[in-house]
Symmetry: C2
Subunit: 329 residues, 2 copies
């Protein structure tokens, strides 16, 4: 009999999924960033749920207000990856008895911060007693079947790109969880990346509006594992020839003699989008993102073979399938 | 500074709600059984989320499969009260590390039991590590603005009715939590009421289809508190002249010298519907419910005054505002 640690999150989900009847007419495969149901006339209703758990998702130093904001951002990021505007959301809370009235106010303020940032509304929810802080969000939006971007459409020859740099949250978590340090200004920025993550909603909406993506995923489980998920869903591989690492992460890696690529690839809690674009649409994709103040960074290309390789400075490395997965540490 | 026990669930929700911007164009007031957003053309998207927590919602003796089924039923019941067909749902799980593979299979089986029973589909979700078992469900459906039944439409003179008898779960919980006993056959039925609750979806859909309801709520927090909620939302009161108590609960009350009305009024975890009906629609309402194999039972009438009174056998009693509320025991 396996225990949960051996099973891992993906296998747990698969086990449960085996018991469930399949809904006919789903617009995205099970296991994509969001769920989408055809509702007629080419329209789809898009749903996402994700749960923030105090013990595993709230590192030391993160305030309750930041935690509540993050619970929403985690969900918004998946909508961003599919190019879907979040219309409204529900919040289900599990609250430990040790919380005080001010903590509840902080939860309200943090939820409100996120709802305003991403122009959506919280329209309901419920509260429960629980032994750990639980903030479960459920997001609703609408899209068209042709516009929603799946994980499964990447084709050999497509360009692979990301919406930002990597490595800051990995470094930040090493500071918060393992007690590593860095010069104050850098340390602040690295911790900030963990405490105030940002979802790339504007970028995701602009890219889907421009109809330039063949596939998309968010990087919340880490760049490496998300590339693997994208490769699995599209049945392709990638040659990655550039991993954009944030300056602060480079300095941090240097101080602690860490491999900066390890920080960039195998982290998590980083909410960038990883997208694939046909070469003829690259310029439009770049400018669609630039128009909303973002930056689309080319990191490699899609190949037919089912391997994911990093080729940088003449060196070839395998990008491993590891990163953030609940129940596996 | 108040702690959560003093605040109570309703006040916690209100505190958080104060921080949130109101979405324009909601089809139901905040605090109704479900949330509903106008999506154009007179249509509304309906959402509900509710969380089952192991420690507070799973009494001793309830299997994991039953708990998973119950997590879905809790949500379906709110859709039933609004007369909305559940189209699809998401499940967010918090799983303690102590669970085994077979427990995960039981969760899958229990979720599947409920989805089949109520002809809906589970189309996605996620899993997380948590210190207690958490099963958070989010339900999506569609309705029309005119057909969805709010809590706020009861008018003086309307008939108040329920879809079944009360008291079995109160008695069952006294057996499971307080160690009271009853003759075996009765004890089994009372425990069964707790372990395998049933949502009145067919009844709710039939009533909304027949367009005979002025207001509706589910009784999951107990008959008494739900009557108070309905009265608050509609700004009315009730004279209750009949409280249908299940035979098993009557026998149990007799054995233990309990007031059967206490069992019927102040319980919880009982998923009947409480509805109000204009007298001229009463016959249609009765037969709409009978047509789907149910029973609509008249329990009293709506009055203008803001009091809720029970008048039975010449005795007048106040129906108190108490029942099941998280954080208050």
């Amino acid at each position: 009999m396996h225990d949960l640690e051996t099973l891992g999150e993906k296998r747990i989900i698969r086990l449960i999924w085996e018991y469930l009847d399949r809904m006919p007419d789903l617009a995205l495969d099970f296991g994509d960033d969001v769920s989408a149901v055809n509702i007629g006339g080419g329209r789809v209703a898009v749903l996402k749920t994700d749960m923030l758990v105090g013990e595993t998702d709230v590192p030391p130093g993160m305030s309750i207000r930041q935690a509540a904001r993050k619970a929403v951002v985690m969900n918004i990021s998946d909508f961003a990856a599919k190019g879907v505007k979040p219309l409204a959301m529900l919040i289900s809370l599990g609250l430990p008895r040790t919380l005080k009235e001010n903590d509840i106010r902080d939860i309200g303020a943090g939820l409100s911060d996120a709802a305003r940032e991403y122009s959506t509304y919280i329209i309901g929810g419920d509260t429960n007693e629980a032994s750990d802080l639980i903030i479960s969000c459920s997001l609703l939006g609408f899209s068209s079947e042709e516009r929603i971007v799946s994980r499964g459409g990447a084709k050999p020859g497509d360009i692979v790109a990301v919406t930002g740099e990597f490595g800051k949250t990995s470094a930040g978590l090493k500071i918060l969880l393992e007690g590593l340090s860095a010069p104050q200004e850098i340390e602040e920025k690295l911790k900030e990346a963990v405490f105030v993550p940002r979802a790339r909603l504007r970028e995701g909406l602009a890219l889907s509006e421009a109809k330039v993506l063949s596939a998309s995923i968010d990087s919340s489980d880490g760049l490496a594992i998300s590339l693997h998920e994208l490769a699995d869903a599209s049945d392709v591989g990638f040659i990655i020839d550039h991993v954009p690492i944030a300056d602060e992460a480079l300095i941090f890696a240097d101080i602690h003699s860490l491999d900066p690529y390890d920080l960039g690839l195998y982290g998590g809690e980083e909410y960038e989008l990883i997208v694939t674009v046909k070469p003829q649409f690259w310029k439009s994709a770049k400018s669609a993102v630039a128009d909303v103040g973002g930056n689309l960074i080319r990191i490699g290309r899609v190949i037919r073979e089912r391997r994911i390789e990093m080729r940088i400075d003449g060196e070839i490395r395998n990008i491993e399938r590891r990163g953030w997965e609940h129940f596996r540490r």
